[in-house]
């Protein structure tokens, strides 16, 4: 069984949809960076878009982009990961409910507040009756979606899958998370993030969408070799998991060209990645990306986008390399390692093909 990423699309703090930014990513010094939106009118007609919050428009636009690229308009599965779901509409409903004392509430905000609105809107737009689901497990929501798709390919239940990760960050939610030390208090820049000597990162948004298929075509970007989730794993469990993953594909530690991590400047967060590298991949170059996108529950979708693009282009600009080395043995295998608050952990292995 092989699974290939056939097309990818993203909307983030970097230029949306295309790849031009990849070799020249923008840098930020703010604590809160919102995504750059494409012209949604190119994807969704205004009558359809009028009730949608930002996250839904982004989800639909990125989905339609991968559908357009691949021509797969009825994927066998539509799976979305979202840590917070449609938080903008949730807030609108919640605010009105608290403010107006449960009176005059608008149904639109409610019906577009649930997490599964995203997957179902995509299905609705595509008129796709097939498998449709949504994962909301904080920082591993995207990986959960990928795992679901992976297993269904493995079981031969599907031949194609649209897998996405979407999270928006509203001003109000930014303030709430600021109260619980999600964000740094002072100025944010690459040097500060690299230092990792205080709590918090900076806030970003992430929308990414991938079309997976079980056959290789001219479009194929890279191969999805594996995805695994772990809850509170011991170092021993992690070691075992890495060995299993590598041996399943006849690989050796040295075959992993880059480990792409979720280092984000938060000291409690980053120490886990440093330990991971020391224990398991002491010789392998370590890469990061959240300094260019901000922290978001489904940032791993962007990590997947970056790793896939790097494999496709066979270039990983030094901007993404944590230890600033630029000489790589190759870009055939990238391991994405992500953890959320050291509880939820995930591995994704991508490979050239």
């Amino acid at each position: 069984m092989n699974i290939y990423i056939q097309a990818a699309a993203q909307i983030s703090a970097q230029e949306p949809m295309g790849n031009a930014w990849f070799q020249r990513p923008l840098r930020f010094t703010e604590r809160y960076v919102r995504s750059i939106d494409p012209n949604f009118k190119e994807y969704i007609n205004p009558m359809e878009a009028r009730r949608m919050g930002k996250i839904l428009k982004r989800a639909l636009a990125t989905s339609l982009e991968v559908v357009r690229k691949t021509g797969i308009d009825h994927p066998d599965a539509i799976i979305t990961g979202t840590g917070l779901g449609c938080i903008e509409n949730t807030e609108k409903f919640l605010t009105a409910m608290v403010r107006d004392g449960e009176m005059y509430l608008q149904p639109t905000y409610f019906m577009q507040s649930t997490h599964n609105t995203i997957s179902s809107q995509i299905a609705l737009h595509l008129k796709c009756n097939k498998y449709n689901t949504t994962y909301a497990q904080r920082g591993i929501s995207f990986e959960s979606s990928l795992l679901d798709a992976y297993m269904q390919f493995e079981l031969g239940k599907i031949k194609s899958a649209l897998v996405a990760g979407h999270d928006e960050m509203t001003p109000d939610y930014f303030v709430l998370l600021d109260k619980i030390n999600y964000w740094k208090k002072g100025e944010v820049n690459e040097a500060v993030l690299r230092k990792s000597d205080s709590l918090g990162s900076f806030a970003g948004e992430a929308s990414s969408c991938f079309m997976l298929e079980n056959k290789k075509t001219d479009l194929t970007i890279c191969e999805l070799k594996g995805v695994d989730l772990f809850f509170n794993p011991s170092p021993l469990r992690m070691k075992e998991a890495i060995e299993e993953l590598l041996s399943k594909h006849n690989l050796h530690i040295n075959d992993i060209d880059v480990v792409l991590t979720g280092i984000n400047g938060d000291k409690d967060n980053d120490v886990v990645y440093h330990q991971f590298q020391q224990h398991f991949f002491p010789e392998t170059p370590m890469a990061w990306y959240k300094h260019l996108f901000g922290e978001s529950f489904t940032a791993t979708g962007l990590a997947t986008y970056i790793a896939a693009t790097a494999i496709q282009k066979q270039i990983l600009p030094v901007d993404y390399l944590y230890n600033r080395t630029s000489t790589l043995n190759g870009l055939k295998k990238i391991l994405i390692y992500n953890h959320f608050q050291n509880k939820d952990h995930a591995l994704i292995l991508l490979s050239s093909c």
């Binding site: 205004p46 005059y104 149904p107």
Partner: protein, 85 residues
Amino acid sequence: MEALILELKKEIIEVLNLEEIKPEDIDENAPLFGEGLGLDSIDALELIVLMEKNYGIKLNNASEGRDIFKSVRVMAEYIEKNRTK
């Protein structure tokens, strides 16, 4: 009456997020659902909220709206007759 119709048009545009549409684009005699503006059942629910919030008219059942929301003019006539604020 004409003032109410204009007011209603503006309110409908706002509450239904009909960004591209101006009040003069809405024919007050044309059906709101299906053919005309192409509104759907969720819009009907939003209009029910609008009726209650702005005019104090409480509809308990979505199907009651079916007759009232035939057109902007019908809506306005109904409001004139039944408004409590």
